[in-house]
Amino acid sequence: MKAKQQRQIFYIVPYGIWLLLFVIAPLMLMLFQSFTTSNGHFTLGNYGAYFGSGTYLRMTFNSVWYAFLITVITLVISYPTAYLLNQLKQKQFWLLLVILPTWINLLLKTYAFIGLLSKTGTVNSFISFWGVAPQQLLFSDWSFLLVAAYIEIPFMILPIFNSLAEIDPRLSQASHDLGANKWQTLRYVIFPLSMPGVKAGIQAVFIPSLSLFMITRLIGGNRVITLGTAIEEHFLVTQNWQLGSTIGVILIVAMIVTMILTRDRVRKNIRK
């Protein structure tokens, strides 16, 4: 028995080391730095600077607002798609097509959109066909939301698809049998039962969207400033690692809050 436990400990050693070096240690460093001055003394000044500054609070609000918009757009597109995919005969194949873009590097996809949306890009040359003058499409809120949503959609579709696929088809039969039409069945039976997938999808989209920075720069043209952008600035440009760490900690707290809000409530009742 004891030997077995020892062997099990052995299995987690590689990942344990990884976790320690690349997750726990950096987090500790970040937390430590957020409470120090540049010459290593303890201070709450970084947090004071953050909460005292209208700019940072506006960035925080911006981050949350855009992450929210991206999540809503993705959800509105993904739920019907996942529902439809589930009704198809070759659903695994169609799902694969949805997942496929996630295998391509994020930067590549972003640059592809620059090619599509720029003044001399595909979209503009297409609309100029009908005599419309070239439009400024890049570097706008809309192009930022479009590209961010495009990138996040597969991460929303997948968990919703899975939770829909797990629903016993006999439940919709039972619902029809009891007099519910398609819409009522969706509303009272299917949608509530797919909530775990919706919540997982919201987590998978909202949390990464909070710290988007590359798309804000390349597509949003720095018009959209989020916390992700601010962290990048502090670490790479102004070299103020202490304040960068502070924003990082705040971002992590925001993520934890989101996870708590969207987690599956554990049943209070104990199964017999």
Partner: protein, 368 residues
């Protein structure tokens, strides 16, 4: 004749195929109000398919499905006045017991008090009055079963369809649910259509049984009719235990099998027609060799609680199952006896209509 009641459900030459498999073949049936019907057959016989055609989960390829005389082939499930108790109950796991039972009444637009009363009376009917606030996963299989019945009945269906509802329950629970279902059916006075593969269940509960195999109704009738006068090898074998041997109908009321002539009560067949002979194990008695109509050797026996199941072999090598109250001696040679009316004769490929017609013809003869 014009006074004849319109059957609540009727099938008129209904056919259904899934790809190359013919699941239902030219089904005709009539179901009257207020009776307990059973569709009995092995898995894949088409019995659940008939249920799904009645409820509207499936659509027939051809033929008519009539509800109170009106064709309903294209009426969607939610608009039919039938409700189903599903095999695995299909209760909504996101709702508690109350909300499950209230699902139908709520959709119908009943007001809150009406719904409350309806749910309460339904839960009382299935003896789950105190369970309305429970979650589904807190219930045992038997309790889930009862919720499923209450939920289906809460819609006031004219026909309740039950798709093997008892198959997941243990033996004792199944037995008591059989009585309870029968009681509920009689109290409400609505039609039940019950699907099962368990012949004992079918015989115990039904007013009328449809025996199905290979997408065809093999025989329909009261439990007694089907048990006493099985029409063919399949029905005889499927309903109860049977000894089936080949025989020749020498003339009316004389049948020849295992090398001897026996007096019996069947008639209306050709002289020297090849037939199958059925003898039920409970109709056979062990006796002395002198009194025996057949001489057999005891091969095996097992104690079944209320009787011994004895396997014996005659000199031609035919196996005979006998149910006896007393145990027998292994390897002993004994006599086997039975009465003329215990011999049931089955013709090969006789249809139900021909069977009924023949029965009537010689029963009339007897009376004249």
């Amino acid at each position: 004749m014009s006074e004849k009641q319109v059957p609540i459900i009727a099938f008129n030459q209904v056919d259904l195929s899934f790809g190359d498999t013919h699941v239902l073949n030219n089904i005709d049936l009539e179901i009257e109000t207020g009776k307990f019907y059973t569709l009995l057959g092995p898995s894949g016989s088409g019995k659940s398919t008939i249920l799904k055609l009645i409820s509207g989960q499936l659509t027939a390829d051809s033929g008519d499905i009539l509800f109170e005389g009106k064709r309903v082939n294209n009426v969607p499930a939610e608009k039919r006045k039938v409700n189903t108790v599903f095999q695995n109950y299909a209760l909504f796991p996101n709702m508690n017991v109350f909300d499950n039972v209230a699902f139908g009444p709520t959709l119908k637009g009943m007001n809150k008090t009406e719904i409350k009363n309806k749910v309460k009376s339904m839960l009382d009917l299935v003896k789950l009055g105190d369970f309305s606030e429970r979650d589904i996963d807190e219930l045992s299989g038997g309790q889930q079963q009862r919720v499923a019945i209450a939920r289906a009945l809460a819609n006031d269906p004219e026909v309740l369809l039950l798709d093997e509802p008892l198959s997941a329950l243990d033996y004792k629970l199944r037995k008591s649910m059989q009585y309870e279902l029968r009681e509920i059916q009689q109290r409400l006075g609505i039609t039940f259509v019950f699907v099962t593969h368990d012949q004992e269940e079918a015989l115990a509960m039904s007013d009328w049984i449809f025996v199905m195999n290979d997408g065809v109704i093999q025989q329909n009738g009261s439990p007694e009719d089907i048990y006493d006068e099985p029409i063919n090898h399949f029905v005889a074998d499927f309903i109860g235990e049977s000894n089936i041997v080949d025989g020749i109908m020498k003339q009316d009321y004389v049948v020849h099998f295992v090398g001897k002539d026996f007096e019996n009560v069947d008639a209306g067949m050709r002289t020297n027609e090849r037939v199958e002979v059925v003898l039920r194990p409970e109709d056979l008695d062990l006796t002395t060799i002198e009194n025996g109509k057949l001489i057999v050797t005891i091969e095996d026996q097992s104690f079944r609680g209320d009787y011994y199941e004895i396997t014996a072999i005659d000199d031609d090598g035919n196996e005979w199952q006998v149910q006896a109250t007393n145990s027998a001696t292994m390897g002993a040679r004994v006599g086997l006896t039975f009465d003329p009316e215990d011999i049931h004769i089955m013709r090969f490929n006789e249809s139900e209509d021909d069977f009924d017609a023949r029965l009537e013809s010689y029963e009339d003869d007897d009376e004249s």
